[in-house]
């Protein structure tokens, strides 16, 4: 069963927290991964594969570049769940 936006956001926030220590409450849709949350490319790669595992989706490398904000990632994952 497909997860809602809120459920994906909560799951993504947990993954971000586990990788970087950033408080889950700071992981909001409008935040930019690099500019606001200060997440570098190395952590981003780990977050991407952990999202793939958690949500059962594929996030191709070329797609990752366009996922600038948390909201972009949530939207992509929700859509990819089909």
């Amino acid at each position: 069963m497909a997860l809602s936006h809120d459920e994906v956001l909560a799951g993504l926030a947990e993954i971000v927290n586990e990788e970087t220590g950033i408080d889950t409450a700071s992981v909001l849709a409008e935040k930019s991964f690099t500019n606001d949350l200060d997440i570098d490319s190395i952590s981003m790669m780990t977050i991407v594969v952990n999202c793939e595992d958690k949500f059962g989706v594929k996030i191709p490398d070329e797609e990752v570049k366009s996922l600038l904000t948390v909201g972009d990632a949530v939207n992509f994952i929700v859509a990819a769940q089909g």
Partner: protein
């Protein structure tokens, strides 16, 4: 006249304590850092050896989440020890180009390597972490320290198995004498308490199997010794020229008088039973220190608690010191710490420095019944040392590596 080299900072994380002060206190108190491993993998793999010298303070309690995620456990220990040593030395306003790192490991990032391989097999290549290569490379600990203290004068890694830590300190002397560098952060680390190296060392019957009495297992020179005990952690020393240390008003623990490295070319794992290579290292180091055998008043022995190794070192020492040997107090501190492999020489150098500074030789625990073939004056309870003396620390490694460093009491 070449400049003296002095020790101005110390740092350590060991099975006895999370820093130098707690480690030294526990060592003098005759404590053991060896205990049963509680990890589930010990039973899962049915390891024949179920105990080791685990770091007393977990690295994750000291470092940030990002540091624990991006550094192999060996580099984590290295960073903890290096930061303590650097803060202790209070080095400030030194040009980064005149600071170097000489930091050793025996095995390197073995946890990272094997975890990454497991991930590859179980989950495929996309799941292998992007930081895997910099985490597993043996120069990882030295590089992490170099970044942390902004050392731009060269960052190097001696890799010579269990002689690595001592060799790194010996290498630091060469750097400082070159005149290119003012300060070196030197030392060694190891974090190989993973089931594979544990199984491999057990397979060669190098490890003690005293599973029912872990704290009694590391017993150098005892007639019932049956192998070494794996330990983990790191030791770090800040070394600089005497002029540099005096000019900035640094406190000085001891003089690093000399170091020497030789090799056996005899057998890949067995020590040369005649100990000629090891003896040559001691003699060469004493010569570099402008000292004679009569000046040596304390020895921190390599003494890993293996039946063959302890006696080979004794024979080497006998070659050097002859009938003088019986009068030199010898400490075998692996009895308390276990064997930190690439970190061993570093923490034992620290023990040697503190023995000179505090004028006390640390005890060798578990010596219940001294091997009658090893006629050493083994220190079994803290023993007072004189002032203005010379002490040596030995390390030997698989591959036939012999490394010796010589320290001298420092008084202005």
């Amino acid at each position: 006249m070449t400049s003296k080299i002095v020790v101005t900072g110390l740092g350590a994380t060991t099975p006895l304590g999370g820093d130098v002060a707690s480690t030294w206190r526990a060592l003098l108190a005759g404590e053991s850092g060896i205990s049963t491993l509680e990890h589930e993998w010990v039973a899962r793999h049915e390891l024949p050896v179920t105990f080791a010298g685990q770091a007393k303070v977990r690295a994750a309690e000291v470092l940030t989440l990002q540091e624990t995620k991006r550094l192999d456990p060996s580099s984590q220990f290295a960073l903890i020890a290096a930061r303590e040593a650097w803060a202790d030395a209070a080095v400030e306003n030194v040009e980064p180009e005149r600071i170097a790192v000489e930091f050793a490991t025996g095995i390197g990032g073995v946890w990272t390597l094997l975890d990454a391989y497991d991930t590859l097999i179980e989950k495929g290549p996309r799941r292998v972490l992007p930081m895997t290569v910099p985490m597993l490379m043996p120069n990882g600990p030295a590089a992490a320290i170099g970044m942390d203290i902004a050392a731009r004068g060269g960052v190097r890694t001696a890799v010579s198995a269990c002689a690595s830590g001592t060799e790194a300190i010996a290498n630091a002397i060469t750097r400082l004498r070159s005149g290119e560098i003012d300060v070196v952060l030197a030392g060694g680390c190891e974090a190989a308490m993973h089931p594979m190296p544990m199984a491999a060392f057990a397979a060669m019957h190098a490890l003690s199997r005293r599973n029912d009495e872990p704290s009694k297992a590391s017993r150098p020179y005892d007639v019932n010794r049956d192998g070494f005990v794996m330990g983990e952690g790191a030791g770090a020393l800040v070394l600089e020229t005497e002029e540099h240390a005096l000019a900035r008003g640094a406190k000085i623990y001891a003089e690093l008088a000399a170091g020497a490295v030789t090799s056996d070319a005899y057998h890949i794992t067995a020590p040369d039973p005649e100990g000629s290579g090891a003896a040559r290292a001691v003699l060469m180091a004493l010569e570099h220190a402008n000292a004679t055998i009569d000046d040596v008043k304390h020895i921190n022995a390599h003494a890993t608690s293996t039946p063959v190794g302890d006696i080979a070192e004794y024979h080497a020492l006998l070659r050097v010191f002859g009938d003088k040997l019986a009068g030199i107090p010898v400490s075998a501190t692996k009895a308390s710490t276990g064997h930190l492999l690439g970190g061993a020489g570093a923490i034992e150098a620290i023990f040697t420095v503190l023995a000179l500074k505090d004028k006390v030789a640390p005890p060798t625990i578990n010596l219940d019944d001294q091997d009658p073939e090893i006629k050493l004056d083994v220190v079994t309870s803290p023993r007072e040392l004189e002032d203005n003396i010379l002490a040596i620390s030995n390390s030997f490694g698989f591959g036939g590596h012999n490394a010796v460093v010589v320290f001298r009491s420092y008084n202005r």
